[in-house]
Symmetry: C2
Subunit: 389 residues, 2 copies
């Protein structure tokens, strides 16, 4: 296996882009990453996207991106792993370089959620759940996460205000990210008064519906070092590990729905592959689509004991400047969660942190970061470790 590096990154602001199509967004991010890499062609394009068929009436999406970005006749495929599609596309690109299959590849994560052509975004997102045994009974995606949060609250015997620190820190960090969807801080009182979506989940527990695209150019690390050394320090960012682990789709099939085995397993594999431990990480980007997901992810990875993530969050452990900063550029909650794009945004943001280029949101001395993209209610998890070299 060859070492894999990042040759260029690009992203669009996350938001409601009424004047941009899914094609436009993907091309904006792709061209930015290619420009940074100084390339006008690549060997292959991996497009992470969950629901362009349902939301935009467009499949054949990767070929569309190749065409619109001026990259024909390069190989192009769309990679779907529900809300983890953006992470799965990064892994596809990583594998192509690591396995020596290609020399330079483009990864694009993109989702356009505001142009829905069918029954609506809620129905489209529910396709990440089990269509026959969950969605057919009316369980939307937020409803499934509400079941998890309710159980967490009941078992731990706390109220939903215990989850406020996760939302507050995400918004606080997003306020420092010029590409974020929600660039305003929120207060604990606003969190408490937030309108309910599916009790106990309220608006401020949830990532919003939005549009966006992020992109990476990957290449052998040696090439990245060679090019990067002239322009910047660190000389390069290495994709040090990549892991994907699956679990049951339906929550009802799990031994314990509050223990996310896919998240635990993929973190374990990635850390082992990178040859490091949790304590070596400078920051962690969890899949904070709902505050309950942040807590379950922190606990599954081992950053907190069971039911202890909320306490550590209250103590500031995960804040900017804390022991383990999370959601450093706002996370899914603050930066926004264009679903199939989020896993790619996380990696782009980790690169910014490791380059020391995260501006007001910079994690001081960042050297190793871990990103995690989750599909379904913990049914598939993609974990990446990145390193400044």
């Amino acid at each position: 296996m060859r070492d894999v590096g990042v040759l260029g990154i690009g992203q669009t602001p996350v938001g409601e882009h009424w004047d941009r199509s899914i094609r436009d967004l993907a091309v904006d991010a792709a061209r930015a990453a290619l420009d940074e890499a100084g390339l006008d062609r690549v060997d292959a394009i991996y497009v992470g996207n969950m629901a362009s068929g349902l939301l935009c009436g467009q499949e054949n999406l990767a070929t569309l991106v190749a065409d619109a970005a001026g990259l024909l006749p390069a190989e192009a495929v769309k990679i779907e792993a529900a809300c983890a599609s953006g992470g799965a596309a990064v892994r596809a690109g990583f594998q192509a370089i690591a396995g020596g299959l290609h020399q330079r590849v483009l990864v694009v994560g993109v989702e356009k959620m505001t142009d829905r052509v069918t029954d609506g975004v809620t129905a489209a997102l529910a396709t990440a759940a089990d269509a026959d045994y969950e969605a057919a009974h009316g369980a939307s995606f937020v409803a499934l996460n509400a079941i998890l949060m309710r159980r967490y609250l009941d078992e731990r015997r706390i109220g939903r205000e215990a989850f406020a620190p996760f939302a507050l820190l995400a918004h606080k960090n997003a306020a420092r990210n010029p590409h974020a969807f929600f660039r305003q801080e929120i207060t604990a009182e606003e969190f408490a008064r937030s309108p309910s979506v599916a009790p106990p989940i309220a608006v401020l527990d949830s990532a919003g519906i939005c549009d966006g695209a992020a992109a990476l150019v990957l290449a052998p690390l040696e090439e990245c070092r060679r090019r990067g050394s002239e322009a910047r320090r660190p000389s390069a960012v290495r994709l040090a590990a990549s892991a994907s682990v699956t679990d049951t789709l339906a929550l009802g099939d799990r031994r314990d729905p509050l223990v996310w085995e896919s998240v635990a397993g993929s973190a374990r594999k990635a850390l082992k592959e990178a040859g490091i431990g949790l304590k070596d990480l400078s920051f962690y980007e969890p899949h904070d689509a709902f505050t309950i997901v942040t807590a379950l992810s922190l606990e599954a990875c081992g950053f907190a004991d069971r039911f202890a993530a909320v306490d550590l969050a209250k103590d500031g452990r995960f804040d900017a400047g804390g022991e383990l900063p999370i959601c450093t550029l706002g996370g899914l909650k603050g930066r926004g969660h264009p679903v199939g794009a989020s896993g790619t945004y996380q990696v782009v943001e980790a690169v910014l942190q490791l380059r020391g280029a995260a501006g007001d949101a910079q994690v001081q001395g960042a050297r190793l970061g871990m990103t995690q993209s989750v599909g379904g209610s913990g049914s598939v998890a993609l974990t990446h470790v990145l390193e400044a070299v």
Copy 2:
């Protein structure tokens, strides 16, 4: 790069499976392939599918298959490249083995078209075209192919009956395939009288709407040889080459819409990679979704000069027993075209031919075969070469 071999194959009959869900079909094919390979787990699962979101209300499809087939916690992703998804999934599996990323992988191509949950199959298939510049103007997928066929007929100055040989040979071969959708021969007169769909395309020019799944277990060729040598001759089937090439989505953006550059380019690449020429092939499985696609594919690959494919077909060149048999087990027209599954069915069928296990449809002395899966109207083409070793 390591040599890649086929360790097991499986397929469901193609048809209208009112009693089987997309999950059931995928598991049936997957378990058959795993049983043949003698495995109960794999490292990764690549699921080729075009439109499970629109047709079945189900994304997160690869994790669903991993779950239902008892293969958790294996890595799993869905691969989408429109109607070429089944071929693209084979390529993803090929790359994982060739690049040394995994030791054993499962490829499943699956589509369930009869359970549509949205606007219908025609709308779902139109997502393979350009949503903004083609589909939005009412161009369905068959309409786009009708434009191509009209132009071919006009430039060559012939009538649509010239395409009859392609449909007749596909049905004749399908009649010998127990897994085929249409197991009855048709006559030239039936072809001539066939009701119009989008003139000049008639029902008997077109692959039907249907359900099905096909699967392959891939592994390093050395392992396949070791296991296969005891049980059968040839000792193994090698995936000798794999290539993917893209072209514009919209027909209007092409220099000449009757010259399919993606098909030509991917065939050229695959043959070069396999180190062989067209004349070395024992058979060819084109993406015969419509009779016009068969003609354009034969011409793009170089099996026929421009506008000459119809003449060669009339002379029997492509019939079973002819110089270059095509659609040997019925092709998309006769075996059926569950869109995201077809590219995988082609490879499964090529393995049967190379093993000498194709029954009444056996191509005598088959040693090298080429399969080709096309997405959109020639916007992406996946070509594979298989060899009996």
